[in-house]
């Protein structure tokens, strides 16, 4: 490949991110369209994106639904105080529940905040969120020292995340 047509890997990734940040082109062959936009071949775009998937820079190429619009009107942030020795093992189990959309271990802020495991639950109603929360409670079993559910009352701000952060 001649020097002027070869794009460095970093630069190529940057251009692919730019071209797809707002979303994948809505055509039957989207990677070919991305390739046209970044100035390379479809094969190179696919190889590069596959590599980004493998190292986790891209989690997946997928749809992000608007939970609220899909009827999941209640959103509860369930928070749990779990023994430090068990939190990673149990967090992995909680993360596999199909109604948990995000699951993280976070630092406690003692004495006021003792919860170290967070699992976001979306459901159609509050009652449904509480039922699901009870399922998580059961799963956490003896390692659980306490829990709470924080329902969202209002979205105060919501912006699209930029891939490199900080700008919005």
């Amino acid at each position: 490949m001649s020097p002027e047509t070869k794009i460095a890997a970093d630069e190529l990734e940057r251009r692919i991110i730019e071209a797809t940040e707002a979303g994948l082109p809505l055509v039957v062959e989207p990677y070919a369209e991305v390739a046209r936009q970044v100035g390379t071949s479809p094969e190179i775009v696919m190889t590069t994106m596959q590599r980004m998937l493998e190292r986790g820079a891209i989690r997946r190429i997928a749809a992000v639904p608007d939970h609220y619009r899909l009827g999941f009107r209640a959103n509860g942030m369930t928070v749990w105080d779990v023994d430090d020795g068990d939190v990673d093992r149990l967090g992995a189990l909680v993360g596999q529940l199909d109604f948990v959309t995000h699951c993280y271990r976070r630092p406690r802020h003692l004495p006021g905040w003792s919860y170290n495991l967070f699992a976001m639950v979306h459901a159609e109603t509050r009652e449904e969120v509480m039922k699901k929360s009870a399922e998580i409670r059961k799963l956490l079993g003896r390692s659980l020292r306490g829990g709470d559910v924080l329902f969202s009352k209002r979205i105060l701000k919501k912006t699209g995340f930029r891939s490199r952060g900080g700008t919005r």
Partner: protein, 152 residues
């Protein structure tokens, strides 16, 4: 609009699309065949769902941390009487990406998006100075990764 208004095909399509499409020349071919649609129909349905707001986004989901970005969840206890003013002040910082009011003593929960840990620290200091709030930063220490989400 609620999920019961979705057709069975829409539901199945959404479940497939949430799990993700492959990196192959025609990534919708398999899903179209499974649903008895053409690839063009799948693509145009995705477009309609985006336009109608059922989907907020469709494309690569970038892992910001792996690309040199940083998200931090921050909680604060905001007095009810100044909630609106403080909410405006917090939201005015460009580094604040999401902000939710939640039912708890810690009633404000926002997420900052910056490039570095140092930027996060500086942003939190600035928000704290501006609003007088004590902020509780709860950066993720570990993420329990999830594959397929919200079965419809």
């Amino acid at each position: 609009m609620n999920q019961h208004a979705l057709s069975q095909t829409d539901r199945e399509l959404l479940n497939i699309l949430q799990a993700g499409i492959p990196v192959v020349p025609r990534p919708y071919a398999a899903c179209a065949e499974a649903l008895g649609l053409s690839e063009e129909q799948v693509v145009s349905r995705i477009g309609e769902m985006l336009a109608g707001g059922l989907l907020t986004r469709f494309g690569p989901m970038f892992n910001v941390e792996k690309m040199g970005g940083e998200f931090t969840l921050v909680a604060a206890k905001v007095p009810a009487e100044s909630f609106e003013d403080i909410s405006e002040q917090v939201n005015a910082f460009p580094g604040v990406a999401h902000n939710y009011e939640r039912e708890h003593e810690l009633n404000m929960w926002f997420v900052t998006a910056t490039s570095t840990k140092a930027e996060t620290d500086a942003l939190l200091r600035a928000i704290s100075e501006k609003t007088g709030l004590t902020l509780f930063a709860m950066p993720k220490e570990k993420e329990f990764f999830l594959e397929l989400k919200l079965k419809l």
